[in-house]
Symmetry: C2
Subunit: 348 residues, 2 copies
Amino acid sequence: MTETRLTEKTAGIRDVAARAGVSQTTVSHVLNATPHTRVSEETAARVRVAAEELGYRPNRLARGLRTQASEMIGLLTEEIATTPHAGRIILGAQEEASRHNLTLAIINSELNPDPEVPPVQVQAFLDRQVDGIIYATVYHDEIVAPENLSARPAVLIGARDSSGILPAVLPDERAGAVAVVEMLVARGHRRIAFAASAEDVPATRGRLGGYLEAMAAAGLPTEGLVAEGSSDARGGYTATNALLDAGPTALFCYNDRMAMGAYRAAGECGLSIPGDLSVVGFDDQAPIPESLFPPLTTVALPHYEMGAWAVDALYAVVSGSGERATSFAPTLLPCPLVERESVAAPRA
Amino acid sequence: MTETRLTEKTAGIRDVAARAGVSQTTVSHVLNATPHTRVSEETAARVRVAAEELGYRPNRLARGLRTQASEMIGLLTEEIATTPHAGRIILGAQEEASRHNLTLAIINSELNPDPEVPPVQVQAFLDRQVDGIIYATVYHDEIVAPENLSARPAVLIGARDSSGILPAVLPDERAGAVAVVEMLVARGHRRIAFAASAEDVPATRGRLGGYLEAMAAAGLPTEGLVAEGSSDARGGYTATNALLDAGPTALFCYNDRMAMGAYRAAGECGLSIPGDLSVVGFDDQAPIPESLFPPLTTVALPHYEMGAWAVDALYAVVSGSGERATSFAPTLLPCPLVERESVAAPRA
DNA sequence: CTGAAAGCGCTTACAG
DNA sequence: CTGAAAGCGCTTACAG
């Protein structure tokens, strides 16, 4: 009873060889199209037919053991649960992995306070003989990577390695913020306020920095136009109320959640968006932008792209097609502006 | 230059055996604590020390090949990108997998219209010799599972199999909706409206059905208290406006996005929440509930739990500790009510 | 209580 | 152009 399933023996390379009347060697050569190996087209055809008829699928576990390449890459996400967009990192990594015929294994980890202790999660991947490891952290900008990470090629997402030895990819938040201001200025705004986050995380500095930089570049004042709040709707509400006195025509919020609070604050003051006040968010955090009235113009984080980039970077090393970590500067991926309906020219 | 990394040869079971002065067999027995095998404590200790000193980690690829069990399970998600909560399914599955020393591999698939064609994604898992497959779909309630899925133990998340042969786990949306109405009734509400979704998906039927059922059970009227809208903020806005004339004291929305629209509609009519109108959502879709003023009472979907349940179900089969699919009824997991601040007793 | 040997299903020098 | 044989790193009857 228990072996009903076990009887479904699947065909092995041996079966294909027997059916085609050739050796396993030959089967392997034709199916893998081994370079520098000539097999007569006739024989090759026979092998392919046999494989087809038997529904032969190479056992990749066996293959991996022999070639010392599992064709598997491990994605270690830090606190995926709490970061809304982590799913897109996974998606980008997975799709890119499939493109290279790689399989993506996933492990989530809690925030790891002590970099000295090698995470068991990394060890779990190493035990699996993964060809490479992606470590995705979303909160820090610089981390000291767990040392056992380097047992395999590894790349970082969302953080740069303090030793500067690991390739890393990060969102270019500063440039994203600059683009927002430039767009607003192009639309005719001059009094552009910024609702900043009180949290001290890299994103805070990058976005505020980009705003300040672009305002300065445009020769626009910022005094009295920056207020802080918690990085949620409540904080956006508070910051907006503090900012409205300064009479801004546009309000750039640290993130979409704060923008939600800004909408409410504006509504309470009888200000219509974008007629009386243009509002821009950051994160493109579903489902906020689409759910607001009017839909929120914001800037998207390149989560999918970072996931795909990381797999590509690993693939380049693993497949030998790329150099190993030649540069120490992390790669910055653009944060595209996604325009919806919360921005208009200021009232004349 | 290219082999700098390759020289870091990691210790194998052979090295441990040599160092401990025993055979590989013995090493394997003590490290795996093979049942029915007695090894003197003295020898065992020597082995453990040697393994420790060498930092020996068994190669799980090799182990899997030999034991015919990859200890890997594959999670196939359908359109993860578009479903906001899919991340929690992955998290639940991953953590439960780790608990059983299983590794979770992930592949995402597009919506598959034709069940006849065996998805390549399933094949990719089979090639990897996964011990089991989880197929997570979030939109359908009944699907005809791809046939190659049955090459391994498989379980479904979010859909029941039309053949009734695969174990399946689904959220008990109906019970969740019933709980909402009961809570509202207990708080003293009698005119409870429902903002329904115009989409014809299982969730629509389950939630509306639960509402109707509970209202009937409480002997409360529903005529004129149900309106439809698209299942987004805009639809919630529309439906709410249509419903307000009926003078409900509480409004139960199909989902949180519609609730967002309801908040706006209520605000425009000068109705305060929950003072003039209690509002309840469904989905607990971050970041909406926490971002609304006041925070939204809603019901959560058991995504994490379904992911964990699926892995457990697979583990039971794979480890032989459980019977194989004895029941044909899908398992319904509870959708917990999460109370925040959008509900109050109706004004006297 | 311990070990020699076979074998999981492949790939890959090497030989012919 | 094709094949015999070794070996990837383990586990597991089987024997002693």
